[in-house]
């Protein structure tokens, strides 16, 4: 990684961290742009939900995690995976459906994960990750661990039953989980105003006597500070909380959505004028980081993203022989060996012939 050019004005050591955060934000922005290009070139299929514009909320929140804290997210997850340290190669390869993708090509854009980095997905059902994150926090309590879970969700998910059940359970059992609501003002094409009776989403935490706060999602330091404080409270006092980070997404709900049926070009332009990426860079320069240094990181990041596309392109797809890989634990073949007689056409060959391994 390019070092900060320190020949100019002296740089506050604390800025070093900030510098890294900016690099990650920039990585997310360029990665998402590349993903969109690759999707339109039909190299990426299915759903592809981009988080361009939400970089400060993403990076600020993840930066607040301790190394052994756990992260669970919904499906707009490329930025969260990258922020948590999953290599861009592994993420892009997963989007391309290749064997060295972080889920070995079996999950795709919505189901990224990296257990070694405490990132447990990448979930496609709105709000479905919330009970799971709550259960992970329960496990942490059971083993007496001083760790916390950060559960990301969108503004649409707060109207799912799973929100209610998860928050209640976390509150009544005092579980170390912080629910991070990324409020980008729209659940797919439906604004918060049209969907939610209580549009101050953080206030809903009060129904469970749980702490709820709102933060400017485009203020990197503000997000990191608030998330850090709430995670510490969760970890040390077993107090769950809701943190609503208000931000905006520049692209549509997914790459297939132009994003203009439900909002105006003017609105998007207005938000782009307050781009958190630009704002963060300006802050860094104001704190004495030379522009040349920042230009250098940006070039480095662009090369990294290009390399990830090249990596994904040359990586092999998973083998068709192993269609069922991972479905059941290794060794389960024995349990299924008597199920073959009378199977539907091709089942025994397609599903079970290759076994359950890779």
């Amino acid at each position: 990684m390019a070092a900060i050019d320190s020949t100019a004005a002296p740089v506050d050591p604390a800025v070093g961290n900030f510098y890294e955060r900016y690099r990650t934000m920039f990585l997310i922005r360029r990665f998402e742009e590349a993903a969109e290009r690759q999707y339109k070139a039909a190299r990426i299929g299915g759903y592809c939900h981009l988080s361009s514009g939400q970089e400060a909320a993403t990076v600020g929140a993840v930066a607040a995690l301790e190394p052994d804290d756990l992260l669970v997210t919904g499906y707009r997850c490329h930025g969260f995976a990258l922020a948590r340290g999953v290599p861009a190669d592994a993420v892009m390869a997963e989007l391309f459906g290749r064997a060295n993708g972080c889920a070995h090509g079996r999950g795709g854009s919505m189901h990224l994960l990296d257990v070694s980095r405490g990132y447990y997905g990448g979930w496609g059902i709105v709000g479905g990750q919330m009970p799971i994150a709550t259960g992970m926090a329960l496990s942490l309590v059971r083993r007496g661990a001083e760790q916390a879970v950060l559960c990301e969700l969108g503004d649409g998910a707060v109207n799912m039953g799973a929100w209610h059940e998860s928050l209640n359970l976390a509150a009544v059992w005092r579980l170390p989980v912080v629910f991070l609501v990324i409020n980008n003002l729209y659940g797919m094409g439906t604004s918060v105003a049209r969907a939610s009776a209580e549009t101050d989403l953080f206030k809903r935490a009060g129904s469970y006597r749980m702490d709820g706060e709102r933060v400017d999602g485009d203020d990197l330091e503000g997000v990191e500070a608030a998330t850090g404080r709430l995670l510490a409270q969760a970890r040390k006092e077993r107090r769950p909380a809701v943190l609503e980070a208000v931000t905006y997404r520049y692209r549509g709900h997914s790459v297939a959505d132009a994003g203009l049926a439900y909002r105006s070009k003017e609105e998007i332009e207005e938000h782009r004028r307050e781009d958190p990426l630009v704002r963060t860079r300006e802050l860094l320069e104001a704190r004495g980081v030379p522009a040349a240094g920042l230009d250098a990181i940006e070039a480095e990041v662009e090369a990294e993203v290009e390399a990830s596309v090249a990596f994904a392109e040359q990586d092999a797809p998973p083998s068709v022989e192993h269609l069922a890989a991972g479905m059941y634990r290794p060794g389960s073949e024995e349990q299924f060996e008597r199920m073959r007689p009378g199977s539907p056409f091709g089942e025994a060959e397609l599903v079970f012939a290759g076994g359950l391994g890779e």
């Binding site: 447990y120 329960l138 059971r142 059940e165 199920m339």
Partner: protein, 346 residues
């Protein structure tokens, strides 16, 4: 081991020994043994602790293991079942009790879209060693919303394993197998079956393998395939067929629905040439539908008659006792179907 007094914790018997106990006691024994063996095993569900379990299956476990390992939940099936999924992903071995299979409906998404998908969707990077225990079944006029047995819905879901013990011995053996398995296993119990008695080997290391059917009764004229309480019914009917019609019926107790031991079923039908499938649930698109498809495929040349199916009548179960009795896969209906398959129907 004490078989009397639900709330008395009993020491685990060391070594082997056979005792007569009820199905619910066998389940309790399995849980107690597994909780002693592995501290990652814990129980969660509505009324499992203080109330001693709505069907008294977990009675005494709270006193023995404490509230961290026997957790009463709020009425939030989607929430606590999903919590079981999350805890399992981190290596715990939760046993989530859902009061009845009917209530699993509100948590379907966590079972089908989450638990069942984890292994495959994440490329084998993480597992979900979750056990869900819940009774199916009808009787006692519990009416439409509380009387369902859609076992087939779960048995048809790749990524899940589904077992349905019909005897106390298999209740202990299969629940143990489920707890020790690293995959999500649905253990389908049954309301009327909880009080059935049988002989159980108390050996804590004895586990019934998943994916193996059992011949509950040997015979030569007809194969009756069943699982759960339908096996209990089938065995009664088999006795009646022998006593009143001189028919020797073989009863194949499936024990496991996914994986399904079609080999054992096919071997039996190859021998008897006639098959009757019985289940507690609705036959259309159900377990018996799957069996019929498999049998006609694997045993096409062996069959002397079409495969028959008996299940719950396809109506939301009415309250009135006469209507309920008529709708259930009662022994009369099973017997008449058996006689039809045997070409002995009048």
């Amino acid at each position: 081991m004490s078989t009397a007094g639900v709330a008395t914790p009993a020491p685990v018997a060391a070594g082997t020994g056979v005792e007569t106990m009820t199905y619910r006691e066998a389940l309790r024994l399995a849980m107690r043994q597994e909780m002693e063996r592995d501290e990652r095993v814990f129980v969660m569900g509505e009324e499992v602790g203080l109330f001693d379990g709505s069907y008294k299956v977990t009675a005494g476990l709270l006193d023995e293991f404490g509230p961290d390992r026997v957790r009463d939940t709020p009425i939030s099936e989607e929430g606590f079942l999903g919590a079981g999924v999350g805890a399992a992903m981190l290596g715990e071995r939760p046993i989530v009790e859902v009061m009845t299979l009917n209530f699993l409906l509100v948590a379907m998404d966590q079972v089908v879209n989450h638990a069942a998908k984890i292994g495959a969707m994440f490329g084998g990077e993480v597992r979900c060693p979750l056990v869900i225990r819940t009774p199916n079944g009808a009787g006692n006029q519990l009416t439409a919303q509380h009387s369902q047995s859609f076992d087939g819905w779960f048995a048809g879901t790749p990524g899940l394993k589904v077992v349905a013990p019909a005897t106390p011995a298999d209740a202990k053996g299969l629940l143990k197998a489920a707890i020790r398995d690293d995959d999500p296993v649905l253990v389908i119990e049954n309301l009327p079956i909880y009080k059935e008695k049988g002989e159980v080997e108390v050996d804590p290391d004895l586990v019934t393998p998943i994916g193996r059917a059992a011949i509950a009764r040997e015979g030569s004229d007809l194969t009756i395939v069943s699982h759960s309480f339908a096996t209990v019914r089938a065995l009664h009917v088999a006795e009646k067929l022998a006593a009143e019609h001189g028919v020797s019926a073989e009863v194949v107790d499936l024990r496991s629905l996914r994986p399904l031991d079609v080999e054992t079923v096919a071997n039996s039908v190859a021998k008897t040439n006639r098959a009757l499938c019985v289940e507690e649930g609705w036959p259309s698109y159900g377990v018996s539908a799957e069996l019929a498809a498999r049998i006609q495929h694997a045993c096409f040349d062996d069959l002397d008659a079409p495969v028959e199916r008996v299940g719950m009548a396809e109506v939301p179960l009415p309250y009135a006792k006469e209507l309920e009795l008529a709708a259930m896969p009662n022994e009369d209906r099973i017997e008449r179907a058996a006689l039809r398959v045997l070409d002995l129907a009048v």
